[in-house]
Amino acid sequence: MVSRLEVRKTYKLYIGGNFPRSESGRSYPALDHRGEIAARVAAGTRKDLRMAVRAARSAQSGWAARSGYNRGQILYRVAEMVEDRAAAFNAAIRLFGVGSAGARREVAGSIDRLVWYAGWADKFAQVLGNLNPVSGPFFNISVPEPTGVVGIIAAESSPLLGLVSRLAPVIVSGNTAVVLASEQWPTPAIALAEALATADVPGGVVNILTGPKDGMVPYLSSHLDVNAVDAYGAEPGQMEEIEQAAAGGAKRVVRPPRTKLDWDKAQSPYMIAAFTEIKTVWHPKGL
């Protein structure tokens, strides 16, 4: 029998709906749990990050202008795509030493989380907004709107569920995202990008960068066209640097919880709320 040579995947960045290599032409080895090279992954740079922010900015108003119903359908479609590739995600996670049951739970949890947030797309405004009874002849309503472009510093230790749990509440309301993937375990994030790209998520809504976080975290946090930084998955020791960088633009920073992170439980409409701005509109009533 003739042996067949396996076709390996090149792990690239995900920017503006495309899969470019890093402009630096560099990659870095992601090691599996045995210390062997699992993949050579693109080493994103500040310039790549700048391109990603630009892509996120240009996609934002269009994404926010879609109906909640439509965004919900697209998020649900992402869940379908991940389910369809569950075996590949399982394998990608197992490479990093997660047992088979653990990997299955992480993938199933990620799919269910996407479905859960998909359902919020056309409901969160009803729960987070309201009519305000004011003293005077005015119609007065408060509604949540997406904050804009959100930088997500993904958790190192939960390469898929940790990422999905933060990405879904950010984009469901109409934000676009620039994600710094787990540096140690980057391949599930790129596999997710491939699922997103086939799930009708418009290019630029989600942008995923792999590479050394050290150079990129402060740059992402200080970039003036990034409106909020999700540091929920960041290490506590990184917070001062992130918050210093964010202060220059009076930027919103979402911190890691004070209690130990439990990704299995990390879903809440208030996680959507954290990346929205309340807009209040007044209009007189009269003849």
Partner: protein, 493 residues
Amino acid sequence: MCPSEPVKHPEIVPTGLDYVTSVESTEVVSIQENYDLWIDGAPTKPSTNRYFQTVNPATEEALSRVAEGGRKDVQKAVEAARKAYNGAWGKMQKSERAKYLYRIARMLAERSREFAVLETLDGGKPIKESRDFDLPMSSAHFFYYAGWADKLEYAFPGLGTDSIGVVGQIIPWNFPMLMVAWKVAPALAAGNTVVLKPAETTPLSALAFARLTAEAGLPPGTVNIITGDGRTGAELVEHPDVDKVAFTGSTEVGKQIQHRLAGSGKRLTLELGGKAPHIIFDDAPLDQAIEGIVNGIFFNQGHVCCAGSRLLVQESVFDALMDRLKLRLRSLRVGDPLDKNTDVGAINSPAQLDKITRLVEIGQAEGATMYQPPCELPERGYWFTPTLFTGVSQSHRIASEEIFGPVLSIMTFRTPAEAVEKANNTPYGLSAGVWTTKGSRILWMADRLAAGVVWANTYNKFDPGSPFGGYRESGFGREGGRHGLLPYLEGGW
């Protein structure tokens, strides 16, 4: 005072009628010679042994001397707040907390005139405004949040009702008493305790409020007032036992505070500056729009973070609008804030007057055309004539920087898309105004304006039940309404 001179305008028939001055009595107010800090329910001498003057900006007369709080005083105040948090206030039944807040609301209403006069004396705002706006709104704010104190579990289902702890609050000089209410009422309703620093030019109403809380029987330490300047504020921000900081003021200082708090784990909300677009379409009801424009920029001498300071007028109505606006400016009465007929009072401080003057000079130097109505200003005190600039381009500093004074920069646009583009061309995003009779256009505009508050066919309307706060560099967090509770609840955003 701007004399109501005979106006040479074809549509106006001079009536010969004018208001006589009608000055509010100051007898209702008694101001102490000195004020100590207010810590743990009692006046407390400052460790610095220093006192600073607070001045009536309309007369330049000293009103009182106020304690300058230092590090040790902040320490004491935070300790008192912590004690009250762990004790009397923190452990109190929520329905009892509600009753204290109701009581404070009622007492403020009862003493409304006294507080209004005090506010006008210390800050320079017209009595018409402190009497009809600042004080009623302050009382109403306490009344509104009182009702939430024992209903928190219904405000944000699933979030929980835990308070945060000791809250450090720093407020500005433009609405001194109202800002006390905006800060203290939701903080206490959620179960926190407070150390508050009023602005150094307007400390008196906060100190009077402190005494009112004692009279209300509020447990000592629940509300502590530390007076002083930015250095005192910095001590409060940096105190390790403060769990949350709430700041209202300039974007510049807000960013400094955000820097100071980086990595501390303290919660922060910021209500910062603005450069609000005020957009007039050609189908707007012009007479009403003129009143909105005037209210938008001359309310409280323009010392308003949400002031409609960038007027965007559709080209086709520019000439007609400018005629009416200039005419309207001539009837604005600038002068004694205690006069019940005064529309525009004194500029709050010499520093603020310098800033306004400097930016207006820059506006002229950059080539914009200035209009000021004939206006005779009092000799003593700090004053600025209501000012319009036309021929302003987007790159002019008067079109991009917050002036925080009675100065309006006027630009034009042709299409709704251009109006949105120009309106959003600012790092700020606090408020916006739109005037048009077309309903669908109002909603189209409201969707696109990057602003926390959009006033359509009205301007500068406020209510305790209505959330207020900014997008982008105008800050984060909301004050007022259900959303105003969130900054004071654990797990809120």
